[in-house]
Structure formats: structure tokens, C-alpha cells
Symmetry: C2
């Protein structure tokens, strides 16, 4: 736990320079726009603790797998999010001495992530070793309007000095990934150009041959007046810069405006990359910092208008939820169906690959409710684009006839993690990918998605499950052996309830979807059947046979489902009865001890009951919750949100609030002592769910929106907005009353606390 940041409803604020926590702050104060992003590194030189990081969406490196002992079937590489050329750099030298906060006395240091307007600002007074005292203020953002553009306003005022200040804005493409498996550099230089007050580098990734052009152009003002100046070009391998020497008088403010752009060969032809980069930089320069920033603020205002959650009476909770929403919006905009949501977004390198099941299981609901329908749809289409690769992946593992196994971790559809427990056994991800199709259609009503994309994916997945189970002679039921469920504190277990359940659910849903498409789009159905060689009668009978005869481990006496076969052979101890010095288990216990213990990283039976809540009565959910919750250690960032939602459903207010707190400020307070590696982006969507589905009790059933709000005692009120079937609703929950505002001109009917209401356009409902 670290608690050095100020509570504020709209900003994250660090006052005073916390050197030791700098890497932690670099993660927290990260900025991005869905296309690019970066850690809150300093513009000027810094020799202290830092993890330099700047990232371009969709650009990765297939780093050769590193394992202790090779296992047949391992993926060849572990894809790495690439640390890209640094465009923020502005070196400052005064009297021959570089400005470097690690070498200065620092006063009045303040860093602010202004979430409302989407910029990072930093100011300080530094006393350099040569006695020079300067005041600095820097402000920068990655524009969400011009999403290839970033801009910096870097102001420096000498407080006790008149004379020359050397300023070197630069681009550095000599970048390493800290998590490189073999200490290799991932970039080659392709082209480089330095011009007056400008510089450009085109770099190409090894193996994948992505090209990224990074460009910059700058101007300088003194006392708010544009000045003319000469600059010395610096042009060396993987580096371009312009050194400018400017005389200033004590107390005069000198400001560097630096405009930069990242253009990727994913969006431009390689031939035109450099030329286009120059145009983008030129246009940004022409618009100027203030215009760019003001467009950017307005765009953020619009985003907040849609996705903000207000919590009254609890600044810390307010700040937490906004921090989560802000970073989600910085990471993924849904505008590019080739992109997805990496667990660390643009805030760090860890977890390499971009896409996990987190997207479908945790992030989708956030985008469904807070963004245009197209955004969530693009997340689904992303998987459809990878269907061929998923079939190849299943083929590598011995599956045949179009069975699809989506990878656990991927950049381009190929599996790219290197732990067998995850790669080979966490096949439940296939279920979440099917579930997301259901979830999307259930929420949006866009049932045409099935014919267009969904059905092919579902059939591939159903085919996989069919081959992955077999009839146990001992049980006379279909079983599924050797899996790892969402609870990664078990490995290679038999009949994981969650996986068995979602597997048959997938088959059922596929059968329903087939029926639907066959009826509504018979021609498209015929086309699909022919394309994927699907003979319904043959395959669907197999699925029905499995659906009817699947084995689900349970304990009838306790009335609970068993996480896996023989779970009750474990010694059942509650987390509260553990010696607290043993926590977190993943840092204190050896792996084998964790594996054989009853303790759960995230409770997958509860995950299943959350997904399929309607298929169980509340008592069943309660019995399982009461059994599994006390033995869950929540050492996955994805865990507490589901518990919060379920506790809310079961009316366990304190537990719901406890679990909410655990997820909302995970990174801000550095609960798990790992924020310095980057933020837990995907679990941030879980925090949003804890409020909307948990405290708000939002569900969609049979095309109707249900709400069952409940408010924690400590709050005065909370409010969130959701989109639903063309309507935009605001739900305000207070201690006394609940208010629902239809902000759109689309009428909508809702079920509030079990009662039907019709809301006309722009109508309020107060209860």
C-alpha cells in the first residue's frame, strides 16, 4: 500500500517529489489515446529510477519463447508490446550542466493527471548543482482528436540566472524493452531526417517488420512571444535532435512547444509513412498547442458525459472510479477492429501480449454500456478475424475438423504465451469468447451479428468442446480432464465445474444460434455450412448428446458445485484464519503449496454463477458464495469485482463495499505492490461493473433493462450513465430515492426493483 497521492474528485495529484515511487507514479500518471500512449516519464534527462515506456497500438515483437524446459506444442514466441521511439525528450542544459531532477534539489514539485481534460502536468523548482535555480512547468497530452499526435508545452524560467539556456528537443529510437527475453533490441532504423526545428525517424521492428515513423517539430516563445532562433542539427544513429541556445534573463519564461506524431505502417503504406508523418506534424504545428488541447478537452468532456460515474460523499471512491474509467478510455476507443485491450494498456510492458479473455469477460460490458455499439462489436469482430488462426491453434494441439481454440494470449491470433498451464489448459477462454457474443446480442439486440460473424465463431468453438470431452466409462458421463480454470491457483484439474458448464452452454447457444440463422437468413446459413463444411444433423446430435450427459461435480449435501473433482479432499481453511503474514500467498508460499491448498485466486464457480445467474436460484448462488468467498484470496485483480456484484445481489452490503474498495483503488494505492510495472487496465472494467451491475443491479433480460439499486451506507449518492438500445439513461441513486433520467429521445421501458416502467424521451422517473 502506498498512499502519497492526494484525494481529488477529478485529478490524481502528487505533491512533493516521491523519488522512490517514481516508477509507480510513471504508471499511474500515464496518458494515451487508444492509438498511442506512454508512461509519465520526464521530458528532460533523468538519471533516477525510471521505466521508460512509449507504445504504439498494434505494434509488437515475437520474442523467441524462453522456458526452463521445452514442452512439445509450446508457442514459438511470446509477443511483446513494443517500447517505441521516445518522442517526448527535451534536454535542458544551463551553464554546461544538464537539468536532471536526480541531481537537483527539488522544491514545489507537483504532478497532476487531469482526468477531466486528459492531460499530464508537472511543475517544480529545481536548484541545480551549479547553483542555477529554474522553475519548470510541463504539460502534455496524446490527442484523442488527432490520434497520431502528441503535444508538449515545456516552460522554463530561470529564477536566479540570466544567460544562455541550451534546449534540445529530440527523438530517440535506440529503445530497449526491459522484458526482452534475450536482451535484444527490437528496432532497426530505416530512415532518418533532421530539418530546421524538425526531426523524423522511421524505425522497423525486427521479424514483424512493422514500421513506425516518429516525427517532431517545435517552436519557442520567450515571455509569450514567438522568437526566431538558430538550431544545430544532431543526426546520429537512431537519434535526431536540434540543439538551440537561447539567451534569457532572470525571471523570463521560455516555452518550448513540441509537436510529435507516431504513424504506423498498420495505417499507412510504408512508402508514404515518412511523407505522411511530416504532414501530420506540420498540421499539428499549424493548429498549435492551445487549439489541439482545447479540441482534446472537448472530446474528453464528451467522453465523460457518457461514461462518468459520480459518487457523492466519498472523494476517495470518486477518484478511484474515475481513474479506472479514464484509463479504460485512454486504452481502447473501439475505432479499430484490429486492436484490443492489453492488461497493462500503454502503461508498461508486462504480460507481453495484448489480448486475454479479460476483454470478453470483464471489458465488454463497460464498452457496451458507455460507448457506441460499434465499439463492443469491434471487440467481437477482432475474434472473428482470428478464427482461422484459432483453428490452426487447435490443430497444433491435435484437434481436427474446424475446431477452434482461441489463444490465451495473442497479438495476431496466434498463441504467444509460454506457460503450459496457461497456454494448453486454460481453455475456458474459448467459453468467454462465445459468451461475449451472447452478452453483446443480449444487451444490444443486434441479433444479425450471428449471421454476419457470430455463428462461424460459435460453431468453431462448439466443435472444439465436442472433441475436448469424452465419455468416462467410470462415470457414464462426459468428462473434461486436464484443464486449468480461471482460478489459476489450480493446474491440470479434472472436471472444472466452470469449464464443463460453459462448454455445454456454448454448445446449447450454438444450437440456438444455428436455429436462428437458419430461420432468418437461410441463404447465409447455407453459405456458412458450405464454407466450414458443417453438416448440421451430424454435429448437432453429438452436441445434444454431450449437453444431456455432461458431468458437473457437485456436493449434494453441501448444496454446492465443486470447483473440480475431489475439491473436498482439500483441507478447507478460511482466509481469515490464515496467519496474515502468509499473505499474499503468491509471494509467501511456494507454488506447490498454493496448488494443493484450498485457497482460490479468483473463484471460478462464482464466475460461472455470475455469467449464468439466471439459470440458478438465489439460494444456490448464496450457498456457493458462502462456501467459496471465505477461501478466496483475490490475488487476481479480476476477482473482487465479481464478488462485489454477487454480494450486492445477495444483499451482503458490507462484503459488496469491501470488494468494491479492493478493486477501485488497486493501482492508486498499489495494493499488490506491482503498479510500477504498469496499471491493471482490464480489471478496471471490473470496477465499473461493481458499481453498475453491483450497486446499480443492472441486468438485461429478454430485451429489457433491469435495475435493482442499492447504496452503501457511506455514500450520499452515486450516479452512472448507460446506453441501452439507443437510449441514454442516467441512474442516480441516493439514500432516500432513486432517479432515472432518460437523456435521449428514445423511449425505453425498464424494470426497476422488479416493477415495469416506461420512460419516454427525456423523461425522469423518481422513486
Amino acid at each position: 500500500m502506498k498512499q502519497y497521492l492526494k484525494a481529488d474528485p477529478w485529478s490524481i495529484i502528487e505533491e512533493g517529489f516521491h523519488r522512490a515511487y517514481n516508477e509507480n507514479s510513471e504508471s499511474i500518471f500515464s496518458i494515451g489515446n487508444g492509438r498511442m500512449g506512454q508512461r509519465a516519464n520526464f521530458e528532460e534527462k533523468f538519471t533516477g529510477k525510471t521505466l521508460q515506456g512509449s507504445y504504439v497500438a498494434g505494434v509488437y515483437y515475437p520474442d523467441k519463447t524462453r522456458v526452463g524446459w521445452w514442452k512439445n506444442g509450446y508457442p514459438e514466441y511470446f509477443a511483446k508490446v513494443l517500447n517505441a521511439p521516445n518522442w517526448i525528450g527535451i534536454d535542458i542544459t544551463i551553464n554546461g550542466k544538464a537539468l536532471d531532477l536526480n541531481q537537483c534539489e527539488v522544491e514545489d514539485f507537483r504532478r497532476e493527471l487531469n482526468m477531466k481534460e486528459g492531460y499530464l502536468e508537472r511543475s517544480f523548482i529545481a536548484k541545480m548543482k551549479n547553483g542555477v535555480k529554474v522553475k519548470v512547468n510541463s504539460k502534455r497530452f496524446c490527442s484523442i482528436v488527432e490520434d497520431e499526435v502528441g503535444a508538449i508545452r515545456y516552460s522554463i524560467t530561470p529564477l536566479n540566472y540570466s544567460g544562455v539556456i541550451d534546449i534540445t528537443p529530440y527523438i530517440d529510437a535506440d529503445i530497449v524493452n526491459k522484458d526482452s527475453n534475450y536482451d535484444e533490441k527490437f528496432w532497426n532504423e530505416i530512415d532518418r531526417e533532421v530539418r530546421r526545428r524538425q526531426g523524423y525517424i522511421v524505425a522497423e521492428t525486427k521479424k514483424t517488420a512493422f514500421q513506425v515513423a516518429t516525427g517532431m517539430k517545435f517552436s519557442i516563445t520567450v515571455e509569450e512571444e514567438d522568437i526566431d532562433f538558430d538550431s544545430k542539427k544532431i543526426n546520429k544513429e537512431k537519434y535526431v535532435g536540434n540543439k538551440v541556445s537561447i539567451g534569457v534573463s532572470e525571471g523570463s519564461e521560455l516555452v518550448v512547444y513540441k509537436y510529435a506524431a507516431y504513424l504506423s505502417s498498420e495505417n499507412h503504406s510504408k512508402k508514404e509513412l515518412l511523407g505522411n508523418c511530416k504532414s501530420v506534424v506540420k498540421n499539428a504545428f499549424k493548429k498549435g498547442f492551445n487549439t489541439l488541447l482545447s479540441e482534446h478537452k472537448n472530446a474528453w468532456a464528451a467522453k465523460w458525459e457518457e461514461s462518468d460515474i459520480i459518487i457523492e460523499g466519498d472523494v476517495s471512491a470518486q477518484q478511484g472510479i474515475r481513474f479506472n474509467i479514464f484509463h479504460l478510455n485512454q486504452t481502447y476507443t473501439g475505432e479499430d477492429e484490429r486492436l484490443n485491450i492489453g492488461p497493462k494498456g500503454f502503461t508498461g510492458e508486462k504480460y507481453g501480449g495484448s489480448t486475454y479473455w479479460d476483454t470478453e469477460a470483464y471489458c465488454l460490458p463497460f464498452y457496451l454500456s458507455t460507448a457506441d455499439q460499434r465499439v463492443a462489436r469491434n471487440l467481437l469482430v477482432y475474434r472473428h478475424r482470428h478464427l482461422e488462426k484459432a483453428i490452426e491453434n487447435a490443430g497444433k494441439l491435435g484437434f481436427v475438423k474446424g475446431a477452434a481454440l482461441y489463444p490465451m494470449v495473442t497479438m495476431n491470433g496466434e498463441e504467444c504465451h509460454n506457460e503450459w498451464e496457461i497456454t494448453f489448459e486454460e481453455i475456458h477462454r474459448n467459453g468467454a469468447i462465445a459468451y461475449a457474443i451472447y452478452d453483446y446480442i443480449n444487451y444490444t439486440g443486434d441479433v444479425n451479428y450471428l449471421a454476419e460473424y457470430g455463428l462461424e465463431v460459435l460453431i468453431g468453438i462448439a466443435r472444439f468442446w465436442k472433441q475436448r470431452v469424452h465419455m468416462s466409462a467410470a462415470k457414464g458421463k462426459y468428462v473434461m480432464l486436464g484443464v486449468t480454470g480461471p482460478n489459476e491457483y489450480e493446474n491440470n484439474v479434472n472436471n472444472n465445474w466452470y469449464t464443463n458448464y460453459i462448454a455445454t452452454w456454448c454448445m446449447k447457444y450454438t444450437l440456438e444460434s444455428i436455429a436462428h440463422v437458419k430461420q432468418t437468413s437461410p441463404q447465409r446459413y447455407a453459405e456458412i455450412c458450405s464454407k466450414i463444411n458443417f453438416i448440421e444433423i451430424r454435429e448437432s446430435d453429438d452436441w445434444k448428446e454431450i449437453i444431456d450427459n455432461m458431468y458437473y461435480p457437485e456436493d449434494k449435501e453441501k448444496g454446492i458445485f465443486l470447483q473440480q473433482d475431489n475439491f473436498l479432499d482439500k483441507e478447507i481453511i478460511k482466509v481469515k484464519d490464515l496467519d496474515p503474514t502468509h499473505l499474499p500467498l503468491n509471494q509467501k508460499w511456494s507454488w506447490d503449496r498454493i496448488l494443493r491448498s484450498c485457497f482460490i485466486k479468483q473463484a471460478d464457480v462464482l464466475q460461472g454463477l455470475y455469467f449464468f445467474e439466471d439459470q440458478f436460484d438465489v439460494d444456490t448462488i448464496r450457498r456457493n458464495f458462502e462456501f467459496y468467498e471465505p477461501i478466496t484470496v483475490h490475488e487476481s485483480s479480476l476477482s473482487p469485482c465479481v464478488h462485489s456484484i454477487q454480494a450486492a445481489l445477495l444483499g451482503m452490503e458490507e462484503k459488496a463495499y469491501e470488494m468494491y474498495l479492493r478493486t477501485a483503488r488497486l493501482d492508486l494505492d498499489d495494493y499488490n505492490n506491482d503498479t510500477e510495472d504498469g496499471l491493471h487496465i482490464t480489471s478496471m472494467a471490473g470496477t465499473w461493473m461493481a458499481i453498475v451491475k453491483g450497486f446499480g443491479g443492472m441486468r438485461v433480460k429478454d430485451d429489457k433493462l433491469h435495475l435493482n439499486p442499492f447504496i452503501p451506507k457511506k455514500w450520499k449518492g452515486f450516479a452512472f450513465k448507460i446506453r441501452f438500445r439507443g437510449a441514454l439513461l442516467q441512474i442516480k441513486v441516493g439514500q432516500e430515492k432513486t432517479e432515472i433520467l432518460n437523456l435521449s429521445d428514445t423511449p425505453v421501458s425498464i424494470i426497476l426493483n422488479g416493477k415495469d416502467y416506461a420512460l419516454n424521451a427525456v423523461e425522469n422517473l423518481v422513486l
Copy 2:
């Protein structure tokens, strides 16, 4: 399968140069003496396919663990057998051209590993690119009499050339391990000296600071006459050599005699290392090649006298068993209780660490029967020396109060492998280490070993098992969760029958051993109790409770023990019904598919029934054999021997012979396509067991030797010798009769085919 070697009862012979198989040959023709050893690399330069390897016993490097994803509790390093300075090098240059078989036309190439006399010989005629034709014969050995000494006779005869030949005998200490995790060199140079016709290097291993002095001295003869010659000293980093230029006439034989020594700081003080090395080299030089070789041959003759197995009527089988016995004797002599038997001996780097459970489970019986009792005893004492480390190791994994978990792989008692399935879960090794104590005492009658060393180890092990099991509320029995049995094609299973069984057996045997020591050495017993804080009444009651209430998975209907809980949920398919292109599974199937399949790498239920044969009736053994054998793929080199022994017991002649063949020529015929990495040394002892315990039916029960010989139809006869309680017996089994010769002057009583016989000194028994 590779079948390019000639069948011969006493030698391994390669005729014609098989370039593509050179690394394979380098493994097979390896020589060693228990203290040092080396692959059959060439003395002269060779630019073709080669894996250079020379090794000194007990000298290792703790290479930082390399894993895909760190798991808490992992060992810090993976110990590597160290590739040591090369002492065999003799560069030959004629007319400015280096002799290099990769650059020559090669005729009459012949390589022989003479197992009877223990040397490696190689001869060839090479036509160099400059037209010079030379005949070469080299012969070398690592003396088993002077075990720090190696010697080479390198003869070269120009066939169409008269003139100068440049000869450079050298030592090269600039050595890399091919399996280095981080491409690091493991040796630093400490000292170096070049003298007339001599050279010395002292090198030190990084981190472990072992020092090894390597020395050499040489002489040259022409036409068998010693000649005087000048030499040019070559003295550079990590390299010492002497270049000699000698004029020879066509047809004259020039011979270099090179004497070398390895001295390790494990056996000499570092101060004296160089001085002692010079003395050892000097003495070897003085003795001369022929004397050294003749001593060496005599020592080998004595070894064969004890350990030879004769098979008549099957040269291929004869060659196979001698090859196994030869390499076992080259790897471990039992003279140094600090040493043990690495899976690849001195023939390759793979599997890093030196000691696995292989030693106790497979190698011990060989040394018990064929060497002085002290040899087997030293293998046990080795583990006693590591008891403190085993307690520390258990402590790292959360065990307390003197519980000992021996490492799965070790050099110095610390765990040093980096796969969790092996490191954390293959705890069955603890059982084999206890079993070896029983096995040793059962065979030798040296029950005093318990008081001296054994009991402390047994109590440590029993304490471990006690903490590793717990009472299952569901079963009302003690269970053991999350283990990997000897069958490594399963991971993280519950209630592995073998492990559960050997765990309770350990506790029982510990209780018996306590009773024995208490009665026979009460003072020593009190001493042990006080040393290890053992309060009998408290701990032994716990053990008894577990012994009485342990859970063993079984299927009563089938009458078999279950490898683990729910084994019968698997789809049971026989290996013979598998598509043969799917074999070997470990190269054709992905790891998850292997894990969930029924296929067994080595059958651990059968391993248990082999260890504890007396505790089960033959029908039980048969039922289990008939169930498990058909689903076993024998992809562990340790597997077929147990099946061979058990098939022999059950009278399944064909199966016993098939399994024997599978183990006996594993490396010679390169069954698993991996001999180039080194030989499977520890499984070679299994081959010996297949004959002695399988075909010979040898057992020791109640201090008596039992024999139940049976002979495969294809053989005329076979004969082996065993030591037993001071007697030396030869057992000759023919198709018609069995003959037992007591070659010693110790009378012995034996039970042959169930009938008692007393053999007086030097008496024969013919049946």
C-alpha cells in the same frame, strides 16, 4: 534408430567415418574413470559436427535459473556439469595445412571402444587438400589406477611426403558449456605456465570457485626411438601449448605421447594444486604410456572379473550388456562419498545436475551386487551428508520441525532444477532414498548402518510425509494432494498410489528402524533423539495413525490399484492401437494431450509393486501389469527394465525379452534419437537389473539369496556374477541347466527355484 556400429562381444566398432553421426559416436565412445571423463572428441583440429566435452567429477556451476514465468519457491539455480579445459588437443600441421578430418578425404577410418581393456582407439588415412596423405592412429584412456591421469599415444605416418610436420600439443581452457542459460563462460583463469614440453593451467569456476589444474607433458618418438626436439612455447589467455617442428621421411612413424592430469581443489588445497599437478604429470610421464596402459588394463580385467555378464548366442545382446556395465563402471567407482551418478555421466551436459532418484532406485542394486559393499554404502552416505540441506529445502517449501525433502536434482544437496512439476511435486524421490537404505541393509545385512547414518535420514523423511498428508473430511482417510509420480506424463495429481504407498512404507520402516536402534544402540539412539529433537511417543503415534488410515486409490472391480484418483475417467486406449506415427508421444503430441491421456511414461504402480513385491500376491501383480503395461509408452529410459523384471516374474517370456532389448541397446542403436546429447547412464543399471533380477530372478529375502532363473529362447546361455554377504557367486544359466559357482571361500546358502541349497567355499551347484 541408427545401426552403423559393428556387433562385437567386447568392443564398439565404427568402420568408415560416419560424419553425420559424429556427435552420436562421440557420446558412445566416451571414456572415463569415475574421477574424470570425456566425449570421444578428436585430438587434432576438427571443424565438422562435434560436441566438445571433458568433465571433472564434482565440479559444477550454479547457472541462474531460466524460466518462462517465475513461480515462488523456484530454486535459484540449475547446476551444470561443467565442461572443463580440454587436455586431449594435439594440432597437426603439414605444409601449412591443418589436419582436419572435415577437410580431408578419409579412408580406412576405424574407431574402437575397447571395453575389455578400457581404451579408445582411432585410426584412419587422410588425404589432405594439399595432397599429403597421412596415416594416423591414436589411442587414449583415462587411467582407473591413477585416476587423475589421462594418456594419449598419437601416431602419424606420412605416406607420400617427406618433410616437416608441425605438432602442437596443448591445453585449452577457453571452454563453453553448450547448455549455458545465458551464454556465459563458466571459467576464470587463475594461473598458467608453459615449460619445455609441458604446460599447465589453473582455472577457477565462477561463483562456486572450484579450481582445476590441468597439466600436460609430452615426448615424441620417430620409428620408436625417442628423439630430442625444440619446441616453441605458446602462452596466451586460457591456452598453453608447445609447437614442435619435426622432419620425417615418407613412411616413418612419428608418435606423440601426451600425458595429462586433472587435479581438482576438491582433492587438493588450492595452494598446492599447481605443484601437485606437476608432480602427477611428471610421475605419469616417468611411468610411460605402456606401463600406465598395462596397469589400467589389469584394473579393468579385475572389474570385469567381478561385474561381467556373459550372454551366449546373441552377440548384439552381449555387446549391449557389456556396453552398459562398462559405462557404469566408468562413471562411478564408489571411492568418493561426495560423488554420485549423473544421468549422462561424463558423456554430455544435458540434465545439468548430478544426482537424481535414479541413483537409489536403479543404480544401487548394480553396485550392491558387483562392487565392494563400501561403494553402495557411499551412495547412501552421500544423502546423509545432504540431510541438513534437505531439511532446509523442505523449510523453503513450508515444512517445519526437521522434515526433510531431498531435492529432485542436486549437486551439493540443494535443489537445482527449474520445473515446478519436478522440483515441487515429484516428492516420491524421498521415498526412494529411504527405500535405498532398506535395500542396502536387506542385501548386505549391514544393519549397523541405521544407527550410524540411516535413522536420522529416515526420521527426516518420515517427518516430511507426516506433514505432507492430511485427513480428508470427504474420505475420512489421509490423502496426499498435488504430486507428480514417477510417471511424469501426469502432473499435479491427487493420491498417486505409488507416492501414498511409499510414504506410509517410509513411516513403517522408520518405526521398525527406531525399534532396532533403540534396542541395539540405546546410547546412540538417545544421542540421535537429542540431536534432532525427536520425541518418539509424540511423533510415532502420528505416523501410526497415518499408516492405519492412509487412502490408496484402487478399483476393486478390476482388482487394480489406481495410478491416482479418477484415473479410470481417462479414455483407456492401448499403445498398440495408437496410430504409430503418433509415437513417440513426447515428440508428436502437445503436452496437455499427453497429460490428459492414459499413456504412461513409466508405470509407477508397477514401480511400487516392483519395490514392494513381497507385500502383494502374484495375481495382484499380474492384474496390475496387465492393465498398465499395454498403456505404457516407455518414453523414460528407466521404464522398460522394471517391466522386464516383472514380466519375467509373471512368466511372460516374450514381453520380458522385448523389454530387455528396449533397454539394453538404447544408446547403441539410438532408440530415442538423443544419444548425441550423451548416454543414458543411470538407466544402464536398469539393464543390468533386467538380466540379474529379471532373467536371473535374483532376490534377497530374510538374509537369503533367492534365484529363479529363466532363459530367453534365443540365447544359448547367460552368466553373471554377484557378490553376496562376502561370497562371490557366478550364476550360469543355460537352456538345459543352471549352474551356480561359489568362487569365494565364504560359504553361502541360497534358495534356487524355491529350494534351499548350501554352497560351501569354491563349490559348484548344477541343476
